[in-house]
């Protein structure tokens, strides 16, 4: 990408998030009625309860890491809660940020995968085909957000707990990298439902579709089609409160955050 343009974009993004989004949106969206799934997370609404974190793990068959793996930082959290601390008591500030995969339009992880296991699908989801992954972990290194997880050990579920596993989501074996899929099994479900009813899917079908968004008591997480200017998520993304994580890297995340005060890095 042209560095000058990138600089300009960055400045725009920092000062007027709305313009930056519009610019990147135009650049990224393909002609025709292509969807671009994205998410808006309102940090002013979020109460850091982590319902999203648990809901995601339940929905997506993410194994519990357990006391031996957690200290080694090998726990898997497709949706994680970042706690960023500034200062020390009493001049202290903590910012809690729910962090799913950003589903970057210009995703560094996709570029480094040697076997094409990770890719961006036609609706903008940065996905991973588990069976294709060889576990080289280039992508976990490349992701500037650390939103990719490697299965260091064979995922284990207590025998009685296996009954709970979601039949719509494959489990992942050892040696495979896994990540947020924007609950694409639910997207598929809602598409089938709409098709069965002989209609197109609407914003109301998907606005709280993902497990994290559905669980969120504060309605802080909104999901939807970023390519549709009328969708709730697009509207939120145009808010003056909107910003994206590390947008200066040019990754074009499709997860937009909202916050009243400008967040100091």
């Amino acid at each position: 990408m042209n560095p000058t343009r990138r600089e300009v974009l960055k400045d725009m993004a920092v000062t007027v998030g709305a313009v930056a989004l519009a610019a990147s949106g135009v650049e990224a969206s393909a002609p025709g009625k292509k969807r671009k799934w994205g998410m808006a997370i309102d940090l002013d609404r979020c109460t850091a309860c982590q319902a999203c974190v648990v809901a995601c793990r339940v929905e997506n068959n993410v194994p519990v890491a357990g006391p031996s793996e957690i200290p080694a930082d090998r726990g898997i959290f497709w949706m994680d809660m970042l706690a960023i601390q500034e200062g020390e008591h009493p001049e202290v500030r903590t910012q809690y940020i729910p962090t799913p995969c950003n589903h970057c339009d210009n995703a560094p992880c996709v570029k480094v995968c040697p076997v094409g296991a990770t890719f961006q699908n036609e609706e903008g989801i940065v996905a991973q085909i588990w069976g294709r992954c060889i576990g080289c972990r280039y992508c976990t290194t490349a992701c500037p957000y650390s939103r990719r997880y490697f299965n260091w050990t064979t995922p284990t579920f207590a025998e009685s707990m296996k009954a709970q596993l979601n039949p719509d989501v494959a489990t992942r074996p050892r040696g495979v990298v896994e990540k947020c899929t924007l609950c694409h099994q639910r997207i598929r479900g809602v598409k089938d439902k709409a098709r069965n009813e002989g209609r197109e899917i609407e914003d109301a079908d998907v606005v709280h579709l993902t497990a994290c968004s559905q669980a969120c008591p504060a309605e802080a997480i909104t999901f939807g089609d970023m390519a549709d200017n009328d969708s709730t998520v697009s509207e939120l993304a145009r808010s003056p409160r909107a910003f994206r994580l590390l947008e200066e890297l040019g990754t074009h995340p499709k997860v937009v955050y909202l916050r009243e005060a400008k967040w100091k890095e």
């Binding site: 339940v58 200290p71 008591h89 202290v92 992942r172 008591p217 504060a218």
Partner: protein
């Protein structure tokens, strides 16, 4: 199970190639399970297996008492996901982390698979299977014997439910059997708030708040987004207050010593000295009264004890106005609380300028030795601002109009037993202002005074873990001849049981639920099995009815129903044909259908300004001066001496008014330099959630999720040469435990943060190291009201030698 194998993927080829290159045979050929598809277990006996039938079952969450409606996705008889029910007014389709983790309760590998009896010494954790019939027969016989001996008062029920039909069933049992010892946990959780409601409103219930109309929220250590008892509803409300009203945005100010999650999410956080909330609230009251900014009309019409007053005998008494004006000037309050006079004045004016404003506290704020006065002081602000029973204010939670069960016929034995003093001392001269005091039990049980306990029922209770003095509890249980636990899981208290009669989990049972919802209006929800019971367990309500029946006589007569379900459905009649309710049904089947569709029944009318049932005090008004307290204390012989002996400095009328006492601490500063800030996080439930890995692993920082954690200010840590992640030993006068040090910038200097309810799972009978945080706390409490003091224990920290 034989299967055809999946098609080869690239990984398999690679594996084959690798194996060939290395000349090694492929390990683990003919895998039993497809690694991508671990979720096809056989469910023996499930008629739905193989059909791929998918159902959504409406029921009610039970991970806390708020009563969120849920729908459970059941595929082929396996529950695979719990989502919030969109129609339910408490959670409107959302569901908190605890609710999300509910399936781990259902499918937990450590559940008891059926009833067992002790097969070894007490506390050995050795069990032998027993049939339900034998267990029930034997327990009923023991209970009948105790009753025949005239020692019915010695039967103790520890009941973890704060309200609802199960609680009322236990109460009924206690009343007909003849024991006053039906003890709940509220003294250790929301005790302060309940007592403030009991004495100022005459209604000992958790109140509701009309969030939609509020313009300003002042939280006194209120853990709104953590362990507040209706956190999910509150999170919804708070986010709506901030973002759903264009042009209007509510300010939320949080006051607390520790920089909690709630504090970090507040618009303004104000630091305060621990256990001085009461003084601050009275200081704010001073400014509001001094500047004549209070709601004069409300105070005149609907309150009692604001001005000085004269009783029937002509004796004059002090009022709230005189108390705050004389005793709590901002300068004095600033010294106590560490909050500047300027800030106190500002907050007081903000409260008045942004009416309706709410002043909130939860159990944690009042959990100090000055708890009752503190809770009353905070609540008094609501009366002063005139926002009780008004839009945007605090509203007494109206309960669903369940019909009462027919009265029980008490025989002489029952009457004699019920007249006895309670073992925990609440209501007697030991704790005249308490409404139950669970943490007073171990001492009483060990000393055998006022009398020995004969039998103990543990329902939703594991006090050996969730209350101070774990070991002491276990020793106390040893002195009780019969201990019966209904816990589905082995825990510290259950190890002491003679019988374990495991309850269904909440996803397997039928129940009418009387939630603690904070929506203000009447609401009832229900539970129904999402899946068939997995094991040979039984609902405790049914078991209690069966035990009563097996006892015969008046006890059996009081339990005429076949099942608990029948007993609860009988009470639903007043919910029929209620105009304006969510389901206007003429008969039970229709009501059930409606409740199944909407996940409950409710009457969405806010009971604004219905003064007739808002206050049940002697004056029929909001009492700044509690006449009930006055009456109780007047009946106490040698009050002055007692107050001296208990170290209470407050005297006379002030005891009946909101007031502030210097809090007491355990441990002296020289030996124990740190104050413990014990708190409950979102991942806390009574008895802990340490058995649910999904919740264990949401701890922050994640690296220490499976350990007990102690939070230390960075400067304190540097001074002690403790690095983040070091293992340290925390010692208090009450006990010591090993914890992982978390260098947390949000912790106050000289204070350490201890999250309650964490520790090792499963607990073993051989454990010597107590966990859970409560083991560190001294058993301090409000000396008159019995509120457990979470604040007040001092500690020291020793770095563990590596």
């Amino acid at each position: 199970m034989k299967t055809t194998q999946p098609e080869p993927g690239r990984r398999d080829f690679l594996r084959a190639a690798l194996a060939a290159a290395g000349g090694i045979a492929l390990g683990g050929c003919h895998q039993k399970e497809d690694p991508y598809n671990l979720n096809r277990p056989k469910v023996p006996g499930q008629a739905a297996y193989g059909t791929y039938q998918e159902k959504w079952i409406t029921t009610t969450c039970s991970q806390c008492w708020a009563g969120c409606g849920v729908k459970v996705r059941v595929v082929e008889g396996r529950a695979v996901k719990i989502d919030g029910h969109p129609a339910n007014p408490i959670n409107r389709g959302s569901l908190g982390p605890k609710g999300q983790a509910g399936l781990e309760v259902l499918y937990h590998p450590d559940r008891f698979k059926g009833p067992v009896r002790r097969d070894g010494p007490r506390g050995s954790g050795k069990w032998a299977a027993v049939s339900w019939d034998d267990a029930i027969k034997e327990i009923a016989k023991s209970l009948a014997d105790i009753r025949a001996r005239g020692e019915s008062r010695g039967v103790l029920v520890l009941d973890g439910e704060p309200r609802g039909m199960m609680r009322e069933l236990w109460e009924r049992f206690a009343n007909v059997y003849g024991t006053p010892n039906h003890v709940d946990h509220r003294a250790a959780s929301d005790g302060g708030k309940l007592l403030a409601m009991a004495y100022m409103h005459g209604i000992p219930e958790i109140p509701a708040y009309d969030w939609t109309g509020t313009r300003y929220v002042l939280g006194f250590g209120a853990s709104l987004f953590e362990s507040w008892c209706q956190s999910i509803h509150l999170m919804r409300a708070s986010s709506a207050l901030r973002r759903d009203m264009p042009g209007r945005r509510v300010k939320f100010v949080q006051i607390s010593p520790r920089y909690s999650v709630t504090a970090s999410k507040a618009d303004e956080w104000i630091e305060i000295e621990p256990a001085t909330y009461g003084a601050l609230a009275l200081g704010l009251g001073h400014v509001i009264v001094r500047d004549e900014l209070y709601d004069k009309e409300f105070v005149k019409d609907h309150t009692f004890g604001f001005e000085d007053w004269k009783d029937a005998e002509g004796k004059s008494h002090r009022g709230y106005k005189d108390l705050v004006l004389k005793d709590y000037p901002p300068e004095k309050v600033a010294k106590i609380t560490g909050i500047s006079v300027k800030t106190i004045e500002r907050i007081a004016h903000e409260l008045v300028d942004h009416k309706p404003a709410l002043s909130l506290a939860d159990g944690g704020a009042a959990a100090a030795t000055n708890g009752l006065g503190t809770a009353m002081a905070i609540h008094a602000l609501n009366g002063l601002l005139g926002n009780l029973e008004r839009p945007g204010g605090m509203i007494v939670q109206r309960r669903a109009p369940f019909a009462p069960w027919a009265d029980v016929e008490q025989d002489e034995v029952a009457k004699k037993g019920l007249a006895a003093e309670r073992i925990d001392g609440s209501g007697s001269d030991r704790l005249p202002l308490a409404l139950g005091c669970i943490q007073a039990l171990p001492d009483a049980l060990l000393s055998g005074a006022p009398y020995a306990a004969q039998a103990l029922f543990l329902y939703h209770s594991n006090p050996a873990f969730s209350k101070p003095g774990g070991k002491k509890w276990q020793d106390a249980f040893q002195k009780i001849p019969l201990v019966v636990s209904f816990s589905p899981f082995p825990d510290e208290s259950t190890f002491q049981a003679d019988f374990v009669l495991p309850d269904h989990t909440y996803l397997e049972r039928w129940e009418v639920v009387d939630p603690v919802p904070s929506v203000g209006y009447q609401i009832a929800t229900f539970r129904q099995p999402a899946v068939e019971p997995l094991y040979n367990t039984r609902q405790t309500g049914d078991v209690l009815i069966q035990i009563a029946k097996a006892m015969g006589g008046p006890v059996a007569d009081a339990f005429p129903w076949e099942t608990f379900r029948k007993a609860s459905e009988e009470r639903l009649k007043p919910l029929f044909n209620v105009e304006g309710s969510s389901t206007v049904a003429a008969k039970l089947a229709d009501l059930r259908k409606g409740m199944d569709k909407d996940s409950g029944w409710w009457l969405p009318k806010f009971p604004y300004e219905q003064w007739a049932d808002a206050f049940k005090t002697p004056s029929g008004k909001f009492e700044f001066y509690s006449q009930t307290i006055a009456k109780r204390l007047a009946a106490m012989p040698g009050l002055e001496k007692e107050l001296d002996a208990r170290g209470i400095a407050t005297r006379g009328d002030d005891l009946c008014l909101p007031h502030w006492e210097t809090p007491k601490a355990a441990g002296d500063e020289a030996q124990y330099p740190f104050k413990i800030a014990a708190y409950r996080g979102i991942d806390y439930a009574e008895g802990g959630v340490r058995h649910l890995p999904w919740l264990v692993e949401i701890a922050l920082p994640r690296r220490a999720a499976w350990l007990q954690r102690v939070e230390i200010h960075p400067a304190d840590a540097r001074q002690m040469k403790i690095k983040d992640g070091d293992m340290v030993r925390v010692e208090t006068p009450a006990g010591s435990t090993r914890m992982s040090a978390v260098v947390a910038p949000g912790t106050r200097r000289g204070m350490i943060g201890v999250a309650l309810g964490h520790g090792k799972w499963p607990p073993l009978p051989t454990d010597t190291e107590p966990t859970g945080g409560f083991a560190l706390l001294a058993n301090l409490m409000d000396p008159l009201a019995g509120i457990l003091a979470l604040q007040g224990t001092r500690a020291r920290i020793m770095k563990e030698k590596s």
